[in-house]
């Protein structure tokens, strides 16, 4: 850049004003992006989404179906909240309910109407479900 540019007070003044405004705008939008990103990764949303997703998968499944659901997102959230992933998901065959709790307090519960029994286990990043016939009828 021309050295004379910096000797020109008006030019420097204009540049500085613009830089200040750009910095303010950048900071403002950075905060906005951070806010939106954090809101999207909320525990309550993940609990609700996964509880409903698992219940719908069970409802739609026929006897003999085997389902492997990727729950790596839940693993990250539960680790952040110091909750063991093994205890984060509970499928209760007797009540026909799916419970997802990613913190020590609270959680989300959703019912399924499929009469089948669900044999389930959590392996690393997967929720493994096997739909078997309900022997009690």
């Amino acid at each position: 850049m021309d050295k004379r540019f910096f000797e020109n007070k008006k030019a420097v003044e204009m540049l500085m004003n613009n830089v200040i405004i750009i910095v303010i705008i950048a900071v403002f939008f950075a905060f906005m992006f951070l806010f939106v990103g954090r809101a999207g990764a909320q525990v309550t949303i993940a609990e609700q989404t996964y509880a409903k997703q698992i219940a719908l998968l069970i409802d739609n499944a026929k006897i003999g179906t085997i389902i492997d659901l990727d729950i790596s997102e839940l693993k990250i959230i539960s680790e952040k909240n110091r909750k063991e992933l093994d205890n984060a998901i509970i499928i209760n065959n007797q009540d026909g309910k799916v419970r997802v709790a990613l913190t020590s307090k609270g959680g989300y519960e959703f019912e399924f109407f499929n009469n089948a029994d669900i044999l389930w286990s959590i392996n690393e990043n997967n929720l493994h479900m096997e739909v078997v016939e309900n022997v009690q009828g």
Binding site: K9, K10, E13, M16, N17, I20, I21, I24, F28, M32, F35, V36, A39, G40, Q42, T44, I45, Q48, T49, A51, K52, L56, D59, N60, K62, I63, G96, R99, A101, G106, G107, Y108, E109, F110, E111, F112, F113, N114, N115, A116, G137
Partner: protein, 165 residues
């Protein structure tokens, strides 16, 4: 702007009048943008993910599987046909005050109809707005053993919203 005596060769922000005008407008615009974004995000994430329509559709598909076999109406369907057992549905979820409902009508000679669950949904299905059951209606044909067409009509509904513990 720079011809203005008030500004002279100083920083824009050093000129009180100019900086006041600019900062007020800037703050106002940023506030409006900020409020709209925050409101939009909170509104989007606070509204529950509604899967009632999907549940009604799944329920409808299960009922179709229970009464049909390769496009034919099952022969054992009569008044003693246990639709809940055949469709693999949990009886306890289809109580009169529950979150689910179905009405399956078979327009054959006998005119068989199976109705289970919260009967109030039959009216709620026609209503629009929050808090009412979401329904799914399906009409199709199956063949009987002699190859005649039989009309089947299924109406299913769900109002399950889930629960925070």
């Amino acid at each position: 702007m720079y011809k203005d005596k008030r500004v002279k060769n100083r920083f824009l922000f050093e000129d009180k009048k100019a900086s006041e005008i600019l900062s007020i407008w800037m703050i106002l615009i940023f506030m409006i943008i900020g409020i709209i974004i925050v409101w939009g995000v909170l509104y989007f994430y606070s509204s529950p993910a509604d899967v009632t329509k999907l549940e009604s559709k799944v329920l409808s598909n299960k009922l179709v599987s229970a009464i049909s076999e390769n496009g034919y109406l099952r022969e054992n369907i009569g008044l003693n046909f246990d639709i809940l057992k055949e469709a693999g549905l949990d009886e306890t979820k289809f109580s009169a005050s529950g979150d689910f409902y179905f009405n399956l009508s078979i327009y054959n000679k006998e005119g068989i109809s199976f109705v289970k669950g919260n009967k109030d949904f039959k009216i709620q299905c026609k209503l629009e707005g929050k808090g009412f059951a979401e329904c799914y209606e399906k009409e199709f044909f199956l063949l009987d053993s002699s190859g005649d067409k039989i009309k089947i009509k299924i109406l299913t509904g769900s109002s399950q919203q889930g629960a925070k513990i």
